[in-house]
């Protein structure tokens, strides 16, 4: 039972990080029809900027996190003006968008290596302190991440449901032409999408770094595939679905290591479990948990 509580808790922590990152990827897809392969590496960048400011430059941790989030958001918006807008104008196909996004992701990863160096980094947070809860060991860093991630998710849910920007984003991803006829300011929605997605991506990177303890330049890439799985699981383009998908996937990944399931999956295979789940969902319910058709033939 203690095992179960432990894994459940780990699953909620992983799930909340995946959910935040997945919303960032999903709203970009919903509004721009762009599968953002660079999200994983921006996640890493967020963690590295934070560690650079807070550990190397002694900026207070919270301030460092905000600066990192704003940095990712600013880069995302800058890329919109330099790359994505032009590609949309020239009616670039899915493949062009894919390849450019992959190119951006490679460039960001190499820049991280050049600017911040090779090797793993750590935040100045207490990695040792743990609490006992129903027999489970709960690390302080995990608890902090879970609390702040939950607050972010609730705030995000309200933003998407109630604010004019959130409504505009949902309207635009449902039907772009109808939304612009109805007076939704397309350019503003696109900028807001990049901004929100950038902030979320940076934050998810910091959270992941805190939970992992130490992290390297490949952290985000390793997380990208589970993030995509969460996005597809929750119906690609649907922000609430992405939240749900993130939590489901986080729980599945952690609980799969539980020893009562034929001894459990070795924990290095967790990303494989994420994909097996994705493949299963696509075979059984390809439209995702909440959605419409994903099959074409």
């Amino acid at each position: 039972m203690a095992d179960f509580i432990q894994l459940l808790f780990n699953g909620l922590v992983t799930g909340s990080i995946l959910a935040i990152a997945a919303v960032g990827v999903s709203i970009v897809y919903g509004v721009l029809k762009l599968v953002n392969f660079a999200a994983g590496d921006f996640l890493t960048l967020g963690a590295f900027v934070t560690v650079f400011l807070s550990v190397d430059r002694h900026v207070p941790f919270v301030v460092a996190i905000f600066v990192a989030m704003l940095t990712i958001a600013a880069i995302s918006v800058a890329l919109e003006f330099t790359i994505w807008r032009g590609l949309r104008k020239s009616k670039a196909g899915t493949l062009s968008l894919f390849l450019v996004a992959t190119g951006v992701s490679l460039i960001v990863r190499q820049l991280i290596l050049i600017i911040f160096g090779v090797g793993s980094r750590k935040f100045n947070v207490d990695q040792v302190k743990t609490y006992q809860f129903l027999g489970a060991q709960i690390a302080q860093a995990q608890l902090v991440v879970l609390i702040f991630a939950s607050a972010t998710i609730i705030g995000l849910g309200l933003l998407i449901a109630k604010s004019p920007i959130g409504k505009g984003m949902r309207a635009f991803s449902d039907n772009p032409s109808l939304a612009s006829v109805a007076g939704v300011n397309v350019d503003r929605i696109i900028l807001a999408t990049w901004l929100i997605s950038g902030l979320l991506t940076g934050l998810a990177g910091v959270f992941q770094g805190m939970v992992q303890g130490s992290f390297e330049s490949t952290m985000g890439w390793m997380l990208l595939l589970p993030i995509f799985a969460a996005v597809v699981l929750g119906t690609i383009g649907d922000a609430y679905g992405a939240l749900l998908g993130g939590f489901v996937l986080g729980l599945v990944m952690e609980l799969s290591t539980w020893s009562i399931f034929f001894g459990g999956v070795p924990s290095s295979y967790k990303p494989v479990v994420a994909f097996a789940t994705l493949a299963l969902v696509l075979l059984v319910k390809p439209e995702g948990l909440l959605g419409y058709k994903a099959r074409s033939i």
């Binding site: 599968v35 790359i83 032009g86 590609l87 020239s90 009616k91 670039a92 196909g93 899915t94 493949l95 062009s96 894919f98 390849l99 450019v100 992959t102 190119g103 951006v104 490679l106 460039i107 190499q110 820049l111 290596l113 050049i114 090779v118 595939l225 995509f228 799985a229 597809v232 690609i236 070795p266 290095s268 295979y269 990303p271 494989v272 994909f275 994705l278 493949a279 696509l282 075979l283 390809p286 994903a294 099959r295 074409s296 033939i297």
Partner: protein
């Protein structure tokens, strides 16, 4: 800088370009004909290369039999990927195919007693327990080719030069074969499915089967590339088969024009020289960086070239613009 003047270095670059040419040709079949955005192509190459090493080292198979088996394993990999995902919409297919190749890599990396894990193919358990190389029976072939050629061509002939000939002869034969298939009715149906699923289905064509065949065909070609990869390097490691390799193949395909078979070798040569040539940027601003940092810069330059290519000339060198932009 010395390497710049050594023919041996450029011979190595040409061998790699040849292997990448074969590898990208597999994508050409899948995307150029079938319109499938396979981003997990490297998975098939990994399956084939590791099959060769494991069958020879652990099970003591004959190398050529193992090479054939490696290609068959890659074909099965393609079939598995296809049967589960071909019905998915393009962007979903791309995501799941990346997942496929990453799963292959994770499994290779974590199965220490079978694939050698992170220590690479050197750690594959052999039948006798002693260290063995799987290319032992191939080296005499290369030596024979060298012996035949050195009287004619002189000093330039070395192991890599023999490999260069073999790789490019196979690449040439495959190019010829693929460009012949372009004129068949099979390819015409596939090209039709690339533009639109419904018309060929209405004409009674089984779109699923045609795509599956193209995916397996492309995987077989990737498997052949994997065999040559394993022969060229004699040592395999899981990190050789990262998604970036698939990305390089896409770059080759796009540079040559995705729908033109003859563009593939041109793209492969261009890529080979771009990749190797960036080693010789020994002037500012590149000298501001250390040599390991310059390795990262090289990938950045390749990424930038691709981004600029996609923005300015998405059709590549030989391609038709309409085929890139009207895709959706």
């Amino acid at each position: 800088m010395e390497a710049f003047l050594q023919p041996g270095f450029w011979v190595f670059v040409l061998v790699m370009a040849g292997i990448y040419c074969i590898f990208a040709l597999g994508l050409q079949v899948q995307y150029g004909l079938g319109g499938m955005m396979n981003f997990g192509h490297v998975g098939m190459m990994a399956l084939s290369a590791y099959s060769v090493a494991i069958l020879v080292i652990t099970y003591g198979w004959n190398l050529y039999l193992a090479a054939f088996a490696g290609v068959v394993v890659a074909a099965f990999g393609g079939a598995l990927l296809g049967l589960t995902t071909i019905r998915l919409r393009g962007d979903y297919f791309a995501i799941v195919s990346i997942a496929f190749s990453e799963i292959v890599r994770y499994v290779i990396q974590n199965s220490d007693n079978f694939t050698g894990g992170t220590r690479g193919s050197l750690a594959i358990p052999s039948k006798t327990g002693a260290f063995t190389s799987y290319t032992k029976t191939f080296e005499p072939v290369l030596t024979k080719v060298q012996d035949l050629l050195s009287p004619i061509l002189g000093d330039v002939v070395n192991r890599d030069f023999a490999m260069l000939l073999i790789v490019w002869i196979v690449a040439g034969l495959l190019l010829l074969f693929v460009s012949r298939t372009q004129m068949t009715s099979w390819a015409r149906v596939l090209r039709a499915t690339r533009e639109d699923d419904h018309v060929p289905s209405a004409l009674g064509k089984n779109v699923f089967m045609f795509r599956l065949q193209a995916l397996i065909f492309g995987s077989v070609i990737a498997g052949i590339a994997g065999v040559f990869w394993s022969l060229q390097f004699s040592i395999l490691a899981p990190e050789d088969f990262q998604t970036i390799v698939t990305f390089y193949a896409w770059m080759i395909l796009i540079m040559g024009g995705a729908t033109r078979v003859k563009g593939v070798p041109v793209g492969a040569l261009f890529f080979g020289f771009l990749y190797a040539g960036t080693r010789f940027f020994e002037f500012p601003p590149f000298t501001w960086f250390s040599s390991s940092e310059r390795a990262y810069l090289r990938v950045i330059i390749i990424g930038l070239v691709l981004i600029i290519l996609m923005i300015k000339r998405p059709q590549g060198v030989f391609g038709k613009r309409e085929e890139m932009v009207l895709e959706q």
